[in-house]
Each structure stands twice: as structure tokens, then as C-alpha cells.
Amino acid sequence: MAQIAFEQVSKSWGETEVLRPMDLSIANGECVAILGPSGCGKSTTLFLLAGLYAPTSGKVLFDGHVVNGVDARDRNVGIVFQSYALYPHMTVRANIGFPLRFQKVDKDDLSRRVVEAANLVQIDEFLDRKPAELSGGQQQRVALARALVKQPNILLLDEPLSNLDATLRMSMRAEIRAIQRRLGMTTLIVTHDQIEAMTMADRIICMSRGAVAQIGTPDELYRRPADTFVAGFIGSPPITLLEGDAKGETLHIGTGAMTLTASTAGRITLGLRPEDLRLGAPGQGGLPARVVTVEPLGREVLYGVETAIGRLHVLAMAGDAVPPAGEPAAVQIDAAHSLLFDAGGRRIPNLNIRP
């Protein structure tokens, strides 16, 4: 159990700076997701924590102690790698027991703890198989058991679910979260999948190009994104971002215009989430529109509609009465949830469009 902090930690490989100076604080027992597209430095952050990489500058602290010089083997960190990194020549039992070989654990204790860890992730029936004889999901459980068996202070998961199929991913998501809660371990999950981050983590660190874009709870990132990057990355189907020019309280976008709740000026980007829009028959009020595309998603249907301010995406329940493709329609906007960003892409707080 440990509290983690980064103080201006950065990492460069030669000339390329993969992680810009970064501050971070994670409470004891917290489960935090590092979210971002590939190449944004999220795995680097994880390996810096594990001690596999040494920071170029700054301090990594565990419980307030600087651990920069501490070897990976002495940090008592458990990692589940994206590839699982199981030892192919060892049985599952030997794989899970491997970390205990380097601690003073007697034989009986070792085999008892291996079985306990295997039980925890429900792979006790495969203990004598080799990793190659297991399915992807089972291998993943072995990797998790191996990371947990030494009762680490910190659990690090690098894209733990990316190699699993959709159904398995859902159940593993819940299972990992449950285990984490039960053991109360400080946990970091690296992922590029926003749903994974939203569902598993107490807080999300959203990263972009080697820097932190925003740190907050899933709801904060969704409702109050710091900038257009976070707004675009969180939410599925993604937010629609429309660029326009503001003059006073009027925001001109395309050939149309919206009214703002306060006056401003310059390039302004309007963000509208598909789930905050309603599609109805023309004449019911709202923005005149024409349905262009219809994408059934099962429970919901995603409509692409053409309006004066540009192409919008609207999410509707499958049963809703909605005009068919090609027909005129109207879009009602939940103005309270609209997001507005300045020329630099930063969100302007306390500014909305008027209904």
C-alpha cells in the first residue's frame, strides 16, 4: 500500500522528449487510469513508476520517499504487461511462484500463496499447464496472479484488457476492479480505451503528446473537459466539435448562428455530445436539419444530420420516432451541456449556448 507522487518527472530518449515534466499525486489505495492515444507517454509513466526506466529529471516518490535510485526489484511493484510476459518455459504454478523465489518464503508457504493467488483469479485448475496451452483470457489471469502473489504495494496494469475479446473484456473489467477494491492496493491502469478508464478508475489522468491534459474523476473529464483534446477523447460516440467566430453574444458557425450566455470574441469551438441532442419532426422547434446517415447500434441509433452550423451526430433510442434518411427534421440541443472552447482549445468555464 503506497502513496505515489511525481515531482516534475520527465523522460527523454536522446533528443526526443517522450514525457514532459509532470506532477502527479495518487492516494493510497486509489485506482487511477492513465488514458491517452498510443505514443502519448502513458506506458513510459508506468515504467518510470516500476523503476524499469530512470527519469531524466524530477523525483518519483513512494510514501514521500524519493525512489529514483531504487532498483525495480526492490520497489515491490506488481506489473501486468500488455503481452502478459509469461515465462513460456515454466508452468502456470512456476510462473505465479516466480516472484516468491526472490523472497525468503519457505516451500509450504510458497505453494500455499501460489494456490491462493490462482484462486483469486480462478485459474487454480490450470496450475500445471504451460502458458501456451491457455487461452488469452486465462493467460491474462496468470499474469494478474503473478503480479498479486508477492502482495505488492502498487499494482500496474499496462493495457490489461486490450488482447481480450469484447465479452471477456467486460467481465475482466469488473473482476479486476473488484479484486483491487478487496485488496485495497494503489493501482494504475494504462489504457487507450476510454470506457475501460471510465469504468475501472476512481480518477483518470488523460495524457496527450507526453503531457498531462487533465486529471479528474470520470465525470469531470466527461462533463468539464479541460480542452478539445480531452473532450474529443472521452465519450463514445465522440463529441462533435464545430469551429466558429464569436461577436458579442452571437457565435457564427457555417451559415448558421447560435446565441451565447455571455459575450465574447474570436475563434470559438462549440462541442456538442450526440447524447445531448434530440431529433424530432420539423416544426417542433430547434435547429432545422436533414437526416443524412443512420447507424443502428442496437439499443441506440446514431444519426448524422446536416444543419446550418454543420454536420451533427445525434444519439437516439432505437424505438424513438425519428424521420427517415433524406427527410427534413429538427435538432433540439441540451444547451446546459454544451461546451465552448477558446482559440487555444481550452474550455471556457461558465459559458454555454442559449437554448
Binding site: F47, A50, G51, L52, D71, A72, R73, R75, V77, G78, I79, F81, Q82, S83, A85, L86, Y87, P88, H89, F98, P99, R101, F102, Q103, R146, K150
Partner: protein, 351 residues
């Protein structure tokens, strides 16, 4: 669509079968013809080693053996793919049994083990019609074989001990000039070593390593090292970083991670490289004749050479028998290492 008659599927299927048969048949015949000149010398070597030149038995044994090989070849390799499933297990077994019986009945009675007398009588020529001979002074074949084993074994050990860390470093560690070093090693391997013979002789002389097995071992190790490093590097390249990093976070030291996790992954490569290096040392001739200048350190290749250099006329049967003995360890090693040798590859793709 209605006017178009449907194609004659039966006829097309017959044609497909015919094409497959022609394809397989052509390949089989071609490969068989190409292998004949390769197989014949070995058959001749075996025949000569168990007969006496000039006797009628030579040709009889040779043709009977050739016939036996042909029958076995047909029964074990050519016919099984063409046979119905249920014949495939017992036809080869019958063929093998028949071969043993036929050999015992028709070949063994014509053979002699006299040519292998050097195995128990070091003075090879004296036993034969009382001829005096230059190679009367030949050491026992066992000492030559012992020397060959020592040479090849030491060389293998040295290569594996040196090439493993070198290949690991080239594969894993990021240091200045790594690429240049890799390319340099490739160039070294391409360099014709014969060009170095004189220089190496002189250097060995100055270092006092002339006429010693150790000298030859050091020279061969140096020359073989680039190849061994290159092959081992491809094996290390195939081991993912992750599992080594995982071992380190699991509490292993770098050395423990290497020994417990990485090394077992490249064991196939170590066996393959070890086998090749051993065989290379076993068959070495150029540097042993150059550097072992008197008979006190006879190795197998020199022994074979001297047996064939008898001033009074060489005994072909004796040469053949020596050749067979020379071959046996090689065959044994190949049978053992076969599985690993096929894993060797360049550029990361396992063959």
C-alpha cells in the same frame, strides 16, 4: 443462366487429381535423381569399409545394399503419401523388418570387420602382410579421437561462453556503435579466412602456440565467433523485452532474469550453435595441418590424411573404415540436435 449447362464436376475433379499426381510425381523423381550422386559415395564408403578390395564380395555387397536402400526409400518416403491411410503405419514397419532380415541373410555373411583392426591394433600396417610402412608410427586412433573431441569440445565451450554475452549485448543493450559493430561482425564472417593462414601461423609461432591443440582451438574460436554471435543474436532478438522486464519487477536481478528467463528461451539456439561449432572443429583440416606440425598431436582429420598417404600404396578399405569411424560422432550429434538445427534462421523468422 438456364441455358448454360452446369460444368462436369466429376471430370474436373479427375483432372485436379491428375494434376496433383503429376506435380508430386515430377518433384519426387527430380529430387530422387538429384540425391543419387549424394547418396552413392556414402554407400560406397560403407561397402568399402566392410569388404576387401579385389574380392568378389565388393560389388555384391554394394549392389545388394543399393537395392536395399532403394526399397527402403520407396517404402518409407515415396509410397506412404500415395497409400490409403490404413496401410501407412504397417507398410513402413514391414519394410524396416524386411530390411533387417535381408541384411542379415544376404549382406552380413559377405562382410568383414578386419578393416576396423586399427581400433584395437595401433600398428595398422604391420598386421597386413608384414608390410613396413611410414605410418607404422601412427598413434592409436583413440588418441586422435580424444584429441579431436578435446579440440571440438573446448572450441564449442569457448564459443558459447563468449558468443552468448556478446549476442545478448548486441541484441539488448543500447550503446554507441552497436549497428556498426553488428555490420562489422557480418563483414568478418564474409572474410575469406584462408587469406589469414600465413599470418596466423606466424602469430602462433611468436605466441608459442604452435603444435598445441590450444593454439588451434583459439584460432578456430576466433574465426567462428562472428557466425555464432550473429545466429545467437537472432535468437535473443526473438525474446521479448517484456518478459525480462517482468522478471526484474518480480524481484530478479539482471543476472537472474537472464539465467532463469532469457537463457531458457534461447536454449535451442545454444544447442544449434554448439552443434555447428563442434562439427566445425571436428572436421577442421586446414588449420590443424598448418599449426600441428608434427605427429604428436594427431586429430581425426590428420589421422585420415596419414592413413591415405602410405608410401607403400594406400589401403582403400582401411581409409573407408577410418572414414566411417570419423563420421559416426557427427551422425550421432545430428540425430540428437536435428530438432534444434531447423530453428536456425536469419532476420528473425524461424524456419
Amino acid at each position: 443462366m438456364a441455358e448454360q449447362s452446369s460444368p462436369d464436376w466429376m471430370a474436373l475433379a479427375r483432372r485436379g487429381r491428375r494434376h496433383r499426381m503429376i506435380f508430386l510425381g515430377t518433384i519426387t523423381v527430380f529430387l530422387t535423381l538429384v540425391s543419387l550422386p549424394v547418396v552413392m559415395p556414402y554407400l560406397w564408403l560403407l561397402t568399402m569399409s566392410v569388404t576387401t578390395l579385389g574380392s568378389a564380395a565388393v560389388m555384391q555387397v554394394f549392389w545388394r545394399a543399393a537395392g536395399l536402400v532403394a526399397v527402403l526409400y520407396l517404402a518409407l518416403i515415396v509410397l506412404p503419401p500415395l497409400m490409403p491411410e490404413r496401410f501407412r503405419t504397417w507398410v513402413p514397419a514391414m519394410a524396416a523388418a524386411a530390411a533387417v532380415i535381408l541384411t542379415t541373410l544376404f549382406i552380413l555373411p559377405l562382410t568383414t570387420l578386419n578393416n576396423f583392426r586399427f581400433l584395437w591394433n595401433p600398428d595398422v600396417m604391420a598386421a597386413q602382410q608384414g608390410r613396413s610402412s611410414t605410418i607404422g608410427e601412427l598413434p592409436s586412433i583413440w588418441s586422435a579421437m580424444g584429441n579431436s573431441f578435446a579440440l571440438a569440445g573446448t572450441q564449442t565451450a569457448l564459443i558459447l561462453i563468449t558468443a552468448t554475452p556478446a549476442a545478448y549485448a548486441l541484441s539488448r543493450l543500447a550503446f554507441r556503435g552497436r549497428e556498426t559493430l553488428s555490420r562489422g561482425i557480418l563483414l568478418l564472417h564474409a572474410f575469406p579466412v584462408m587469406a589469414l593462414t600465413v599470418a596466423i601461423f606466424i602469430q602462433s609461432y611468436w605466441m608459442g602456440l604452435l603444435n598445441s591443440i590450444l593454439g588451434v582451438v583459439l584460432v578456430l574460436t576466433t574465426l567462428e565467433l562472428p557466425f555464432a554471435i550473429l545466429i545467437l543474436k537472432t535468437f535473443f532478438d526473438a525474446v521479448p523485452w517484456d518478459i525480462e522486464m517482468s522478471a526484474v519487477t518480480d524481484g530478479a536481478s539482471r543476472w537472474q532474469a537472464f539465467r532463469l528467463v532469457v537463457l531458457p528461451q534461447v536454449s535451442g539456439g545454444l544447442i544449434a550453435v554448439g552443434t555447428f561449432t563442434f562439427l566445425r572443429g571436428w572436421e577442421e583440416y586446414v588449420y590443424v595441418t598448418t599449426l600441428l606440425i608434427d605427429n604428436s598431436h594427431m586429430v581425426m582429420s590428420l589421422y585420415l590424411f596419414w592413413v591415405s598417404q602410405d608410401a607403400m600404396g594406400a589401403d582403400p578399405n582401411l581409409i573407408a573404415a577410418t572414414g566411417v569411424i570419423y563420421l559416426l560422432p557427427v551422425v550421432a550429434l545430428y540425430v540428437f540436435a536435428q530438432k534444434y538445427l531447423t530453428q536456425i534462421s536469419f532476420g528473425g523468422i524461424k524456419g
